[in-house]
Symmetry: C2
């Protein structure tokens, strides 16, 4: 029951959206009751609306009785112009990066105070990776996140530095230390993490500049260790420059 403050939704539309909003990465399959609870709707109301959504293919009822997002929504979502220019320009370079290293490759942008993963190229279960396309992760615990944060407006940095949640024992949660790291990122041109998001996984990332020089995204690797950091950074920088040129 996330803090749905029982805001009296009035329109049907908002109710429908509330139902759909009940889904997230940890809740991809929900029972009718769970949907109603999470959306803050009476069971009978949810029942009616969900039935209609299922009839239209927006939701699908599984044999178990739970509801999941339907193929129709998948189709629809793919039509959204979410940084399509960037993603198209970047895709080939990401594959090159993967081909050259066989490490997991990420393309991410900043979305408010979180990192939004736009693309991911992963191999045969290389290193434990939490992120998926569409994931939002905290900025301070990921390589791409640190890059984007270092180049973010002051107010964003302040907001993020104010809530440094711990993810692993190695997550940097002291604002001062993170500030120092961000300064380093700007100076060095790349960021790293050491098991700060998930144990056994390190990362390197560099910024991607837009045509006007501003940072529009970040590309990064997830690897088991950072011994080859130099080589990895070089590869990323080549790719980042290539993406910029393609934009």
């Amino acid at each position: 029951m996330a803090g749905n403050s029982a805001r009296p939704q009035v329109s049907v539309t908002s109710r429908v959206l509330d139902l759909l909003g009940a889904y997230d990465e940890e809740h991809r399959s929900l029972t009718l009751s769970a949907l109603a609870r999470r959306a803050g709707l009476p069971l009978a109301t949810a029942h009616r609306l969900v039935a209609e959504l299922a009839r239209a293919g927006a939701l699908v009822r599984q044999p178990s009785g739970e509801y999941v997002i339907g193929r129709r929504m998948w189709d629809l979502g793919l039509l959204a112009p979410v940084e399509t220019g960037l993603r198209h320009a970047a895709a080939p370079f990401l594959h090159d990066l993967y081909g050259a290293t066989l490490a997991t490759v990420h393309l991410a942008v900043r979305d408010g105070t979180t990192v939004l993963y736009l693309e991911r190229v992963a191999g045969h279960s290389s290193v434990p990776v939490v992120s998926q396309v569409g994931s939002r992760l905290p900025m301070h615990a990921t390589g791409v996140g640190k890059v984007l944060l270092a180049h973010a407006p002051e107010e964003v940095q302040v907001a993020v530095l104010g809530h440094l949640t711990r993810v692993t024992p190695y997550t940097v949660t002291q604002p001062g230390r993170l500030r120092e790291q961000l300064r380093r990122v700007l100076a060095d041109g790349y960021a790293t993490t050491h098991e700060e998001m998930s144990l056994g996984a390190c990362s390197v990332a560099v910024p991607v500049h837009g045509p006007d020089g501003e940072v529009v995204a970040a590309v990064g690797f997830v690897v088991a260790d950072l011994r080859q950091r130099g080589r990895l950074v070089s590869a990323l920088q080549v790719a980042a420059r290539g993406i910029t040129r393609s934009l």
Copy 2:
């Protein structure tokens, strides 16, 4: 009034879904009037509903005034369990295929009488390719489509053979010829196309079997010519077998 059959939608929910359904691959950005027209709704009604969807982030109004699908829908769509098992199992192999050939690689399944593209790995603009992830294309004009059609139930074949639309001058539109090709596909274990979907592009594809032996998907290449057909087929077959094992 495109061919919307003017079935009198009654519920708000269906109206909202009609609005969203107005979008497709050729219409990713629509004016309010176009939305209303394509959804078969009075302008005033569409205006109200669209405004609410935009307020919620399901739609986004662009500076030009047109509406596009919003990031929120993108997020939602990615949560849909669309062959996730298959896609996860296949991803690494698709990258291997791309790495070995630098040709565009596709993973597709059959969806009714069309091919649904689940994944695509493309390089630096190799060959003109129409398909994108989420695209649906006719089965008779694509390599993966022919593979899936050859292994589809009789009634599906009949339905498809009944409507062989021409896409290029080389599209196979004679049911008899296609039937013969399908027989070949079963015998040879792979399918090909020669500029049947888009000029300058040929394709090769092989079936992917599930744990129970039935065909669950197809993997294929899009290339400029088929001179290396043997090598390409071998690579695809290795990948297909790997995917089966991973399932």
